[in-house]
Assembly symmetry: C2
Homo-oligomer: 229 residues x 2
């Protein structure tokens, strides 16, 4: 035990909530724990912060090591600092979250994890530690975010229909939205550019394709707006 | 040095950004450091998290010990986890913020601080550590918050004029707002109740007094809205 201090120190960890969208469902990326405590239980990917890496870098590293995911934009969610989160000892964890297109990433469990898998956010197995609380806070944060920031650029195909965009909102918000109202609000923001092109084939009527106006998307990402439900 | 671990651990601290409003200016509460590093420099109130207290409790305790402030609703701001924030060693800090009415609180420096004082947020002395970055992030967060949550309940007198409310917004947003537009938007939210009473005396024309509709205030605090500038 070579590292000694005058005062007892909590251990510091990171945990990552990665939401995946596959055009029908919102999923969370979980790993199966290899070691005690909670051995063989599912948990959020994460682990200890090393003394020579930033907390942000620790989150990226642990996510990559345990799931193979890289080049993911992790945003800080919240720091969980209660006393008995971990049965071993006092551990404070900095939680991060991200939202990715599932098909952009291939999973690969490596160190400290037996397995890595996507689960529908409301149908996960029982999670280790307080990870259900962390996941729930991330879901709430994500719902809040879509009401004041544009979403979809990294999640939808380059050209998409308004129905596909509405489906994304409905999936995240876990609620059905009125079609007419949704279209009216979306189009009034000038965030979308109609392409004059239409979907082909399939059982449905051709639907117009849109793309995001990147400038407006970035502007609204910074300034915010209010998408009233 | 009785506390030894297998791996080196960052020290964990808390820092508090407390904004004070005095009906004319937005100020930040700073303390003068008693000990090195940055001895005699001004800094945010804060300190080490004890092994047997939650991170939230550490923030409350440090704020009280260093400034005498209590019963303040501290909200978590962000965790700063870069490598060289502290010249002594690796220290990760969880930052909190709050907004209070200055006249509700009396300052009293106690442990670890020579002095505690309010400074206009843009006219502070040079701050210790990365505390200027923490303060700047808190200012940005506060500006964001007022565009989607009601503000003022704890900061204004029970009965206030629209001019006083506008002054609060202008102070936080650091920008002048159009009077007509501000009134129109504010009144359209049904957040304010006109009292049919008017200010008396003084050099100005009597102005109508309002109070917050507490129910609506709480509802909008949860649901959010968008106050377009």
């Amino acid at each position: 035990m070579p590292f000694c201090y005058d005062y007892a120190r909590p251990a510091l960890t990171v945990d990552c909530v990665v939401f995946g969208y596959d055009e029908t469902e919102l999923k969370a990326l979980l790993i199966k724990r290899d070691l005690p405590p909670f051995k063989r239980m599912w948990a959020l990917p994460g682990g200890f912060v090393r003394i020579d890496e930033t907390v942000d870098d620790a989150a990226k590293r642990e996510l990559f090591e345990e799931t193979g995911l890289e080049k993911v934009y992790l945003e800080q969610l919240y720091t969980f600092g209660d006393l008995h989160r971990d049965p071993r000892e006092r551990v404070v964890t900095v939680a991060y979250f991200a939202l990715v297109k599932m098909s952009d990433h291939r999973l690969r469990a490596t160190t400290d994890a037996q397995d890595a898998k996507w689960f529908p956010v409301r149908q996960t197995p029982k999670l280790a530690f307080d990870h259900r609380d962390i996941l729930d806070l991330a879901i709430a944060r994500l719902k809040g975010k879509v009401t004041y920031q544009p979403i979809g650029f990294e999640l939808l195909p380059t050209k998409f229909t308004l129905t596909e965009l509405q489906k994304l909102y409905e999936t995240i918000l876990e609620t059905a939205l009125d079609k007419r109202n949704f279209r009216k609000k979306m189009l009034s923001m000038e965030l979308l550019e109609p392409l004059g092109e239409y979907t082909e084939g399939g059982a449905h009527r051709p639907a117009e394709l849109y793309r995001f106006n990147k400038k407006k998307y970035e502007k609204l990402s910074k300034s915010g707006f209010f998408f009233e439900l």
